[in-house]
Amino acid sequence: MRLTALIGRDLRLAYRRRGELATPVIFFVIVTALFPLALNPDPALLRTLAPGVIWVAALLAVLIGQDSLFKTDYEDGSLELMLLSPMTLEWIVILRVFTHWLVTGLPLVILSLLMALLLDFPTHALGTLVMSLFLGTPILSCLGAVGASLTVGLRRGLMLLPILVLPLTVPVLIFGAAAAGRAAVGDPVAAPLYFLGAMLMLSVTLAPFAIAAGLRISLES
């Protein structure tokens, strides 16, 4: 019941600030649209680039969204209350990341269908694209949360976050884009999807410890 209360709190707050939630989503769309503008809108070219472009845009959009994860709670003192709660911080944290993904990551997964349309991504491979993002965006959220927990107290934290987190996200990008890319040309996709699944399990189990430790350190001063 406490878990539902906490999830309810996050969802309620998110709903009341739903304007802000649109930011990562709009960012996703704009970044994807930049590529045809910067390159060549030739459909054949776009089709080859589509998996990579969508994935990079999703990655950046998730990172942009990490700012809202802990910042407001830090500023209004709610984060301190979470740290002082007798509830295990790791649980509080994983719930927070989960609800955050629900409102920032999941919309990206759904919207990727629209992006695929813009880039002439073959329809038979859409399922794999969505699956790769569905498995990959939570991992990105976890990694982003690790970075956010370490930078929450910093003034320029938002600028530092991508530098810290992007190198760690390379495997997710590789497997995710590979899955989508291989599906587009009809190659088997089991391997990259399984790797994504494994990384998802790993991040969900290990990230909460790093995030909780990061929060404790950030709130020491």
Binding site: L150, L154, L164, V170, L206
Partner: protein, 245 residues
């Protein structure tokens, strides 16, 4: 023996220890590196395929190896610093980072220079070079985070978490990059398997590795001295030291 090791964790004791040991290691590393270079540049014959260009491996391979080692050292020291609350362990991490980053850069540059005569381009996206590049980014991230905090202690502890998370990720990154490379049939492995190397090649290589390790150790000790001084600048022993000199 263990008592001595325990004493080493005390900053003033360590400082004096490093002061004495560093010059020895420094000069020794210079000798060993010169020996290795002599073996590699003069004594060993040119490669039948790559001519004289391959000789850059005598710098490239040891640098790459040290860059990986330094990261693991950084992460291990970070973990020790967090778990046992040793200030010196955090100093080791902070000292290892720029040094490791420099070796990574050296590995990248030498790898790039090797590429030009071999493949015609200054950069190829092969698995090893790409992994080295990502390693450089990990180092830079660590250094950036470490310096972003006003309180050095908080900075140390925050970047310690990052180092540990990074270290856990390094095998995963390496694996994924290798997989990605095979996927796109990148250029064949830059550097052939060790089994093919004649002794005239791998002996100088090991000598160079050893020399680089000594150099790394000497440099680390010196850097650590600086880090220790900075962190302990309000204590009595540092003030005495400054007054003495």
């Amino acid at each position: 023996m263990f008592v001595w090791f325990h004493k080493l964790a005390s900053p003033p004791f360590f400082y004096r220890f490093a002061e004495k040991l560093a010059p020895w290691l420094g000069w020794l590393s210079l000798l060993v590196i010169l020996a290795g270079l002599y073996g590699g540049l003069w004594l060993s014959p040119p490669d039948y395929q790559q001519g004289d260009g391959f000789r850059i491996i005598y710098v490239h391979v040891p640098s790459a190896w040290i860059s990986m080692f330094a990261y693991m050292l950084m992460a291990a020291a970070a973990a020790i610093g967090l778990i046992w609350r040793m200030k010196l362990a955090h100093a080791v991490s902070a000292a290892a980072a720029p040094l490791g980053a420099s070796f990574t850069l050296l590995a990248l540059v030498t790898g790039s220079l090797w590429g030009k005569p071999m493949w015609g381009t200054y950069w190829v996206w092969d698995a090893r070079l790409t992994s080295e590049l990502i390693l450089l980014f990990l180092y830079l991230g660590y250094i950036a985070l470490n310096h972003a905090f006003e309180d050095r202690r908080t900075g140390d502890r925050a970047s310690a978490i990052l180092a540990i998370v990074g270290a856990v990720n390094v095998p995963i990154i390496h694996f994924s990059v290798t997989w990605w490379n095979t996927l796109h049939q990148g250029p064949t492995v830059f550097f052939g398997p060790k089994a093919e190397m004649p002794p005239s090649m791998y002996i100088p290589l090991f000598i160079m590795m050893f020399g680089f390790m000594l150099f790394f150790a000497a440099f680390m000790l010196k850097r650590l001295q600086v880090e220790v001084l900075q962190r302990e600048r309000n204590t009595a022993w540092v003030r005495e030291l400054v007054e003495q000199s």
